[in-house]
């Protein structure tokens, strides 16, 4: 027969200070754990949501990033005429041949510079990316020296306010709008018209990628076969969503692995603390435990009961840890995405899945930390314990 859980609850309440210090130790570990996972998932989400499932991105074969890709104008023209591409309300195909250049921009309010992606797009780009919305100002006028700026980089880089002028080589572009894109990596880019950006950035007539909307989502495989097999060009097609997810893989995995590594080491320290607390709990209740055993509770029941107590303690820490970590949700941070070599701003995402992982992690610490003390409790020598020796 099992010992009721309420017994453990009362015991935990018996020593509030000890319980609380142990729980907070575990809580801090859980908070760091959640923090690193939410950093990784925030970064990943910013790139995954960049892509749309109905869109296809075409790159040069073998290119592992847009900046390493190149597609010439002739290829672009041939692809634009493909009947598998959806047609917009204006009657023009929903295609955007895009030039992508990493540019060096001065930071705002601090010395130094960093890399920002400049994207030359076709007028259809906004229709193609339904997530992109102008939040301030207006869209650039095609054919003019105007650009729009992702709202995430406005506070971080110089010359991004509406009306400011951004210089590329000998030509200056006027910022006419700020846009938002549901937290995706586009929000860290500068967009303008291909026709004016290409000459300004000496990009001849070539593009880095071509993105288009499929007339029929399921037509991807057939089109992939058709274009990749075409001997006129060496191209590779990706679903836009899969492509951007792939782009975030390396960095997100690095953050996760490092985060888990750090927290596992930290958890070791916290588990030693929990073991101390549980040993003390077992020791101070020697006679009580012996009484339970004499009453007929099996050693297994005693062991389970102490394990449960340890897990309860750890879960309390887990809940506290989640509470500590919640305020970081939404905080915007930035790092360089080494796949595109430019800075991407993104927000920490404390998702329910991440919180759940934190709680499971806490419970794990409870199990590990409680095992030996619980074993000791179950193996109590009865006679001696009852005599109170």
């Amino acid at each position: 027969m099992a010992i009721p859980l309420s017994y453990n609850m009362r015991n935990i309440r018996q020593r509030p200070i000890s319980t609380l210090t142990t729980a907070i130790g575990i809580a801090l570990t859980v908070a760091i754990f959640i923090g690193s996972l939410s950093l990784a998932s925030g970064f990943q989400a910013s790139l995954i949501e960049t892509g749309d499932d109905a869109n296809v991105i075409v790159l040069r074969k073998g290119a592992d990033s847009e900046i390493a890709s190149g597609v010439d104008r002739e290829t672009s023209n041939i692809i634009r005429a493909n009947p598998a591409i959806a047609v917009g309300p204006s009657g023009r195909p929903l295609v955007s041949s895009e030039m992508v250049v990493v540019t060096n921009r001065d930071r705002l309010g601090q010395p130094g510079s960093s890399n920002v992606l400049v994207r030359g797009v076709d007028p259809e780009a906004l229709e193609l990316r339904s997530s992109v919305r102008i939040v301030e100002g207006r869209m650039f006028e095609p054919g003019t020296d105007e650009v729009i700026v992702g709202h995430r980089i406005v506070p971080r880089f110089a010359d991004c306010e509406i009306g400011d002028r951004i210089r590329f080589q000998q030509r200056a572009f006027t910022v006419v709008g700020h846009f938002e894109a549901e937290g995706s990596a586009f929000e860290s880019e500068i967009w303008g018209d291909n026709a004016t950006l290409q000459p300004a950035l000496q990009r001849g007539g070539g593009f880095q990628s071509i993105t288009f909307r499929l007339r029929d989502r399921s037509g991807f495989a057939a089109l992939e076969k058709e274009l990749e097999g075409d001997p006129r060009f060496a191209l590779q097609l990706h679903r836009e969503s899969a492509w951007y997810a792939d782009q975030s893989g390396l960095l997100a995995t690095t953050i996760r692995v490092l985060g888990v590594l750090i927290t596992v080491i930290m958890a070791l320290g916290a588990v030693f603390g929990a073991m101390n607390t549980m040993y003390a709990a077992v020791q101070s209740r020697t006679r009580e435990i012996a009484t339970l055993l004499v009453l007929g509770f099996s050693p297994l029941a005693v062991m389970v009961s102490f394990m449960a107590e340890s897990v309860l303690l750890a879960l309390l820490g887990g809940v506290l840890g989640c509470l500590f970590a919640l305020p970081i949700n939404g905080i915007v941070t930035s790092t360089t995405n080494f796949a595109s070599f430019s800075e991407v701003a993104f927000a920490f995402r404390v998702t329910p899945a991440v919180l759940l992982a934190g709680m499971i992690f806490a419970a794990g610490m409870g199990v590990v930390g409680g095992f030996l003390p619980a074993l000791k409790a179950a193996r109590q020598p009865l006679a001696g314990s009852l005599r109170g020796a």
Partner: protein, 398 residues
């Protein structure tokens, strides 16, 4: 029996608890030092940059090149002793697409002498015909200099990839498409750790002919100056020359250039500091909890000590010393373990940074932190023990 042995007896009273606390402090300080080490390594990676070398690149974008004609005018600027140039290659190893490593196309005649104090050749092929290298040229590069498709590879990268000297490797170009065969003709070792041993150097002319159609586009110019004091003036002068040209330049010291790369990590250093502090605070709680528990169990003993005539201040000292010994021991063990284990493992973040370095200042800071944790965690129990009333202590039954 002196006071110190009393402290030792106190520690030995519950060995398991002492050891567990010691271990948790060890683990925490190991982590604290390892995280501090990441920051140290970042700082160290800037040190590769010299104040007497300048780098000139395209001011607009790192993917845009500079015209070859700039070389003459840069060389003519007073204070510039030598000019070299290089390009980023960015190819992949088709057998190991995730095994990223850096490749630089360099003008070997001018580039290698500039760096001769930072690396040395440890292994090299024999040249097929006798080759004479100019004076001041690092020895061992005869075979490399005689062959256009030859390359020099860092020792660590060689080991990681399992390559052999004389082997021909084929890389898949990304910026410059196609298959690129290279023959490994020499292996270098970094004389200064921060120089790194995971790069590949090859002849710029090979890239120019095969990849750029001979247009001679230059990724960046590298200059050696006669003295560091003139860096700012020379930079300004070069940039002013090209300000209104089709390819404006940005010139900075190599040190500043490297620092720019470190700043690309964004808020990472701040995040690492926060984690380090959280670790120390978590461990403070564990240690404090232990000390409080230990004191509570020994209330009667302290009563007896007081009855025997031990002064309040002495009792206070004994409890505090116990806490300090555990945390100091754990602190020393953790920080030294981090310093020696991590440094000797050569962990280098997958090639993004030079091998891990932990400064002694970080070790000292860690031990200081451990002592602080000991002092703070022992304070409450020590104060309680010192204030203990003998009658209450002796009457108490556990």
């Amino acid at each position: 029996m002196n006071l110190f042995s009393l402290v030792l007896v106190g520690l030995g009273r519950n060995k398991r608890r002492t050891i567990l606390t010691f271990l948790s402090v060890t683990v925490a300080l190991f982590l604290f030092s390892a995280l501090g080490g990441v920051l140290d390594t970042l700082e160290d990676s800037i040190k590769v940059g010299s104040e007497t070398r300048l780098i000139t690149r395209n001011a607009v974008s790192l993917v845009l090149a500079l015209p070859p004609a700039y070389r003459e005018r840069i060389a003519a600027v007073p204070g510039v002793e030598a000019v070299s140039y290089a390009n980023w290659f960015g190819a992949l190893d088709p057998n190991d697409r995730n095994g990223y490593f850096a490749q630089f196309a360099i003008d070997a005649d001018t580039y290698l002498p500039i760096y001769r104090d930072e690396f040395e050749i440890v292994e090299s092929s024999e040249p097929q015909a006798p080759v004479s290298l100019p004076a001041g040229f690092p020895p061992g590069l005869e075979a490399f200099m005689a062959e256009q498709t030859a390359c020099v590879i860092g020792r660590t990268l060689m080991e990681k990839k399992g390559w052999k000297l004389g082997q021909t490797i084929t890389l898949a170009g990304t910026i410059f498409p196609g298959d690129w065969p290279f023959t490994i003709r020499a292996v270098y070792r970094a004389k200064q750790k921060s120089f790194g041993e995971e790069s590949m150097l090859f002849h710029w002319e090979y890239l120019n002919q095969k990849g750029m159609g001979g247009n001679g586009a230059i990724g960046w110019y590298l200059m050696a100056l006669s003295e560091p004091g003139i860096a700012a003036d020379v930079s300004k002068r070069i940039d002013a020359t090209y300000e209104n040209s089709a390819a404006p330049t940005r010139t900075e010291t190599e040190k500043a250039f490297q620092a720019g790369f470190v700043s690309m990590y964004g808020n990472l250093p701040f995040v690492i500091r926060v984690i380090g502090l959280a670790v120390v605070f978590a461990i403070l709680l564990v240690a404090a909890n232990t000390m409080v528990m230990s004191f509570r169990e020994r209330t009667t003993e302290f009563g007896v000590l007081k009855t025997l005539g031990f002064a309040d201040a002495t009792i206070f000292g004994i409890v505090l010393a116990e806490a300090a010994i555990i945390t100091l021991g754990g602190g020393l063990a953790g920080t030294l373990l981090a310093k020696f284990a991590l440094e000797s493992s050569g962990f280098n973040f997958g090639g993004f940074l030079p091998p891990m370095t932990i400064y002694w200042t970080t070790v000292v800071l860690g031990v200081g932190m451990a002592l602080l944790v000991g002092a703070v965690s022992g304070l409450v129990p020590a104060w309680q023990a010192a204030r203990l009333d003998i009658v209450d202590a002796l009457r108490r039954v556990d």
